[in-house]
C-alpha cells in the first residue's frame, strides 16, 4: 500500500533506528511517510538518530516523566492526532507495551504487542506473533482506526543520519502533573554478556546438582568456543548464574549456530527462547525428555560422564 503514514515512537533511543526501518519497509517505496515521535524529557534522543523520518514530533514532557505511561500516552496521542497515521508503531519493550496499552485505551483502538511481523492491508493491519507461551504462532488482523503495534526488535541496528533535516514539531506537555511520583530510579548493573549475539551456547539446567559443578559446563563451553546459558531455575531460583544467561520466554531469545542443552528438560517456556538455533544438541539422562524431540543430536546419559568425555574429545585427547 502506498501514500500512508506510519508513526513511530519509543522511549528508548536504541530502538528507534530499528523501528524506523520496519516502518519504512511497511509503507514501501513511494509516497508513504514515516514520522517519528521522541521524548524530550531530558533523556531521549534529540534529533540525532532520526534518519529515515520525514517529520519528528518532540514530546515535551516534564523532566524524567517516562515512569508515567499516562503522561507519555497523552503526549503520544497528540502526535498521533497530528500525524493521523495508518499505524502507530512502538517497540515491544516493557515501557513500549505499557504506553501502547494506555494509548489504545485512551483512543479505543486495537493494539497488539510482541509482534514478530506486520503488514498494512486494506482491511487492517495483519500481524503475526507468538501465542500459547511460544508454543504456536497467531495471525490476527487489527481492525478499526488508529491501530497500535508493539513490535519485537532484534539486535539494535545502527542509526542512520538524516540526509535532509526532518521537519521538527514540538508537542507541548500535557496540562497537570502525573499521578505517579518517581521515588527512585536505578540503572541495573550491566552484566556485559549479550547472549543474543553468541555463535555457540552451552546451556545448563536443573540436571546440574550444585553450583560448584558449573565449572564442568564452563569447561565444555571453553572447549567449544561457546557462551554459557541456562534455564530459568538456574538463574531465577538457584541464582547460580545472572539473568544475562537466562534463556526462554521470560529470559533472552537466542539463535546461535550451535545450542547444547545439558540437563535441560525442554519446557515450552525454555524452547521458545532457543528454537531458532541452527543445530541443537541435547544431553539428558532421561530418554523421554521433551528436549530430545527438539534436537538434532541427542545423547542419553549422565551429564557428569558425558560432559567430561566431550571436553576430552574436543581437546583431541
Amino acid at each position: 500500500m502506498s501514500g500512508e503514514t506510519v508513526l513511530v515512537f519509543s522511549e528508548e533511543a536504541e530502538a528507534i533506528p530499528g523501528l524506523l526501518a520496519a516502518a519504512r519497509a511497511a509503507v514501501g517505496p513511494g509516497p508513504g511517510r514515516v514520522e517519528l515521535a521522541v521524548l524530550a524529557d531530558g533523556g531521549g534522543p534529540a534529533g540525532s538518530a532520526v534518519g529515515g523520518a520525514d517529520r519528528v514530533y518532540r514530546l515535551l514532557l516534564p523532566e524524567n516523566a517516562r515512569h508515567d505511561p499516562e503522561l507519555v500516552a497523552v503526549a503520544l496521542r497528540r502526535a498521533q492526532e497530528a500525524a493521523n497515521p495508518r499505524l502507530t508503531l512502538v517497540a515491544s519493550t516493557k515501557r513500549g507495551r505499557e504506553t501502547a496499552a494506555r494509548l489504545a485505551g485512551a483512543t479505543d483502538s486495537a493494539v497488539s504487542t510482541g509482534v514478530a511481523s506486520f503488514a498494512l492491508e486494506p482491511e487492517g493491519v495483519r500481524i503475526r506473533r507468538e501465542v500459547l507461551s511460544g508454543n504456536a504462532l497467531g495471525e490476527e488482523v487489527l481492525l478499526g482506526p488508529r491501530p497500535i503495534v508493539a513490535v519485537m526488535l532484534g539486535a539494535p541496528v545502527p542509526a542512520v543520519p538524516p540526509t535532509t533535516p526532518p521537519e521538527i514539531i514540538d508537542v507541548p506537555p500535557p496540562e497537570g502533573a502525573g499521578r505517579i511520583a518517581l521515588v527512585e530510579r536505578t540503572v541495573k548493573p550491566a552484566g556485559g554478556l549479550r547472549i543474543e549475539a553468541a555463535e555457540r551456547i552451552v546451556s545448563v539446567g536443573r540436571g546440574l546438582r550444585k553450583k560448584e559443578d558449573l565449572s564442568l559446563i564452563e569447561e565444555l563451553a571453553r572447549a567449544m568456543g561457546a557462551v554459557v546459558g541456562c534455564t530459568r531455575p538456574i538463574a531465577a531460583e538457584a541464582g547460580w548464574l545472572s539473568d544475562d544467561h537466562w534463556i526462554g520466554l521470560t529470559g533472552h531469545r537466542v539463535k546461535p549456530r550451535l545450542y547444547v542443552a545439558v540437563g535441560i528438560s525442554g519446557a515450552v517456556q525454555h524452547l521458545v527462547g532457543m528454537r531458532e538455533s541452527t543445530v541443537v544438541v541435547a544431553i539428558n539422562k532421561d530418554p523421554n525428555a521433551p528436549i530430545f524431540a527438539q534436537s538434532d543430536f541427542t545423547v542419553t546419559g549422565d551429564l557428569y560422564t558425558v560432559v567430561p568425555a566431550l571436553v576430552r574429545a574436543l581437546s583431541g585427547a
Binding site: H67, P69, A73, K94, R95, R97, E98, A104, G105, A106, D108, A110, V111, S112, T113, G114, G124, L132, S133, A136, L137, E139, E140, V141, L142, L143, G144, P147, R179, I180, L182, V183, E184, R185, T186, V187, K188, R200, M224, G225, T250, R257, L258, V268, R275, V279, V280, V281, S295, D296, F297, T298, V299, T300, T305, V306, A309, R312, A313, L314
Partner: protein, 263 residues
C-alpha cells in the same frame, strides 16, 4: 483512604498452553475448543492481594471476563483466599478480544466504584499482550504501576518497586491504582483441601452488559484471530551413542564438525 481496603484482582481463564494441541493434519490449534486454565501470573496477583488483606484487613474481590466456564478461575482465586468473586459475561459474545475484556472490566469499575488497588497479571500465559491492566487504567482514568516486584501499602497510597529491562524504579501513587505483577513478586500458596471446598460453595455474582449499563457493541472486537498454528520444526533427532562415553563423545564431535558448527 476511608474504611477497610478494597482489593480487586483480575483473573483470566485462558487456554492451557500445555494441553492445547494442534490438529495433526492442519497444524492449527482450535482455540475455542482448547482446555482452559487460570493464567499463571494471576495466582501471583491473588496471592499479593491476599497477603495485603492478611496484614491490613479489607476484602479481596476476584473478577473475570468470559463464558460461564471461566468461573473455574474464580474458584481458583477463592481457594487462594479471595473473599468474593465476580463473573462478567456476555451470552452473545463468550470470548472477547483485548478491547472487549478491558471495556467490560472498566464498565464494572464504573458501576461498582470503590476499589483501592486492582491487581492484574503483567501478561497472560496464553496471549501475553500485557495490555489489559494499563488499558483498563486508561479507560477509567487511574494510574497504572506495571511490573511490580514489591508492593507496600501506605496510608491511602501505594509504593511499588518495579523492574524494567535495564532499570529499577520505585514509584508511588495514591489510591485508586492499578498494579501489574509477574511471577517474581511472590510464591503463591497451594490451596488446601479445606480452602478448595470452601471456595466451591461461595457465591459467584454474574453481570452482563445490561447490568453494567453498556451496549453490547461497546464490547465488539477490534481484532480478528485468523489462525493459531504450530510452526514446523524439522530437527534431525539423531541419537548419538557408542560403546563407552569416549566413543559417544567422539561421535558427537565428529557430527558437529560435519555440520560446520564448531570453531
Amino acid at each position: 483512604m476511608s474504611g477497610p481496603i478494597r482489593l480487586w484482582v483480575a483473573v483470566k481463564h485462558g487456554v492451557d498452553v500445555v494441553l492445547a494441541r494442534a490438529d495433526r493434519s492442519t497444524g492449527t490449534v482450535a482455540m475455542d475448543r482448547a482446555p482452559r486454565k487460570t493464567s499463571d501470573f494471576d495466582r501471583n496477583a491473588v496471592e499479593e492481594a491476599v497477603r495485603i488483606r492478611e496484614k491490613l484487613g479489607g476484602t479481596v474481590t476476584a473478577l473475570t471476563v468470559g463464558p460461564p466456564t471461566s468461573k473455574e478461575a474464580l474458584r481458583d482465586a477463592l481457594a487462594l483466599g479471595a473473599d468474593e468473586a465476580v463473573l462478567i459475561t456476555d451470552p452473545a459474545r463468550p470470548d472477547l478480544d483485548g478491547r472487549g475484556v478491558a471495556r467490560a472490566l472498566a464498565a464494572y469499575a464504573r458501576t461498582h466504584p470503590g476499589f483501592d488497588l486492582w491487581f492484574f497479571g503483567e501478561g497472560s500465559t496464553d496471549h501475553f499482550t500485557g495490555t489489559i491492566g494499563p488499558r483498563v487504567a486508561a479507560e477509567i482514568g487511574a494510574p497504572s504501576l506495571s511490573y511490580a516486584r514489591r508492593v507496600s501499602v501506605e496510608d491511602g497510597a501505594v509504593l511499588v518497586e518495579r523492574e524494567y529491562e535495564h532499570e529499577l524504579e520505585k514509584v508511588r501513587a495514591a489510591f485508586p491504582a492499578i498494579i501489574t505483577v509477574g511471577q517474581e513478586i511472590n510464591q503463591p500458596r497451594v490451596p488446601t483441601f479445606m480452602s478448595t471446598l470452601k471456595a466451591s460453595k461461595k457465591e459467584i455474582r454474574s453481570f452482563g452488559p445490561s447490568e453494567l449499563g453498556v451496549q453490547p457493541s461497546d464490547w465488539a472486537p477490534l481484532a480478528r484471530r485468523d489462525r493459531v498454528f504450530v510452526p514446523e520444526v524439522n530437527r534431525k533427532r539423531q541419537a548419538v551413542s557408542g560403546a563407552d562415553p569416549a566413543t559417544t563423545a567422539r561421535g558427537l564431535v565428529d557430527a558437529l564438525r560435519r555440520e560446520g558448527v564448531l570453531p
